[in-house]
Symmetry: C2
Subunit: 206 residues, 2 copies
Amino acid sequence: MEFSSKLLENAVYEMSQLPGIGKRTALRLVLHLLKQPEERTNMLSDALMSLRSNINFCATCHNISDTILCEICSNTKRDESLVCVVEDIRDVMAIENTSQYNGLYHVLGGKISPMEGVGPQDLNINSLIRRVKEGQVSELIFALSSTMEGDTTNFYIYKQLEGLDVTTSTIARGISVGDELEYADEVTLGRSILNRVPFESSIKAN
Amino acid sequence: MEFSSKLLENAVYEMSQLPGIGKRTALRLVLHLLKQPEERTNMLSDALMSLRSNINFCATCHNISDTILCEICSNTKRDESLVCVVEDIRDVMAIENTSQYNGLYHVLGGKISPMEGVGPQDLNINSLIRRVKEGQVSELIFALSSTMEGDTTNFYIYKQLEGLDVTTSTIARGISVGDELEYADEVTLGRSILNRVPFESSIKAN
């Protein structure tokens, strides 16, 4: 792609460094900003820079927060004995949206992935073990994605917990509510059968 | 979507103002920036702001340029008597990529669109008529997209040219009607430039 302006080329290049944004999309976005009032660009730039330089992670669960402890960790109405282990803050948001969970979280910041050079030391695992050792946590709920990396991470943490007084569980895997059995993949459907729940409790959940 | 941080919410909001970027994508992009070194965010912000505040448009053809006259207008090897009228600079880039065109351009900055409140006075039409009146242009090639807005714009300019000594043509529609120039392959687009037809006959064809 040939650019008539170095400034334009530079802006498109930087924009195309974002995941899923190719050169053409980047050019479209940049030209859109050029058509908008200058203050739009300034507001976008300021918002990104101020987030990046003032960003704070909750000292306990590593969720993004503007305060030292996040709103969830500092909420005394939540159950401190339950900790749900998730990959990143999008998972926290997804679970919070269900309004079905009243415990706390622990954001790992990723999964163990030798292919991508992510080892246990790159994740917030030590602070999780520390939380468990402090004694207030009675159950850890693993809610990582069920990929090989997710399973590896679950297992690594599980091994680290040996000898500690804590229950571990994983979120139920089954076919989605409203899905047709016919279209479900075999592994998921198999898991749904194995992990069946008493009918009475499924009535209460609705 | 509930955010645990105002800074995050603000950054996601600003990002989601870009065309084609929804809230979820915006969140993904912003979280990606958070995982990258801080300088990446600064480079993106700086590139956007410096483009927006230092942007310059060629005094003759309104192409984006870092100099008063763009590289194309100031290139003495190009044919000054040919002017190709396009909607925006992406079209200039697309036509330049074909290497089939040796004339100059005129970037209108949009199309006449009453629906979107874009009238002739919002486009670089007056300066185009001025260029023609100055006498060096012998042929105008209309290369707007073949939508109703594009046709309206072509026709408006054509009317303004009455009594002036200039030939008009439109690029041959080797490429499908309704497609954007930007996405056409180079061979087809190059053929379209070579096989341009007199504007009068394109009216008859519709």
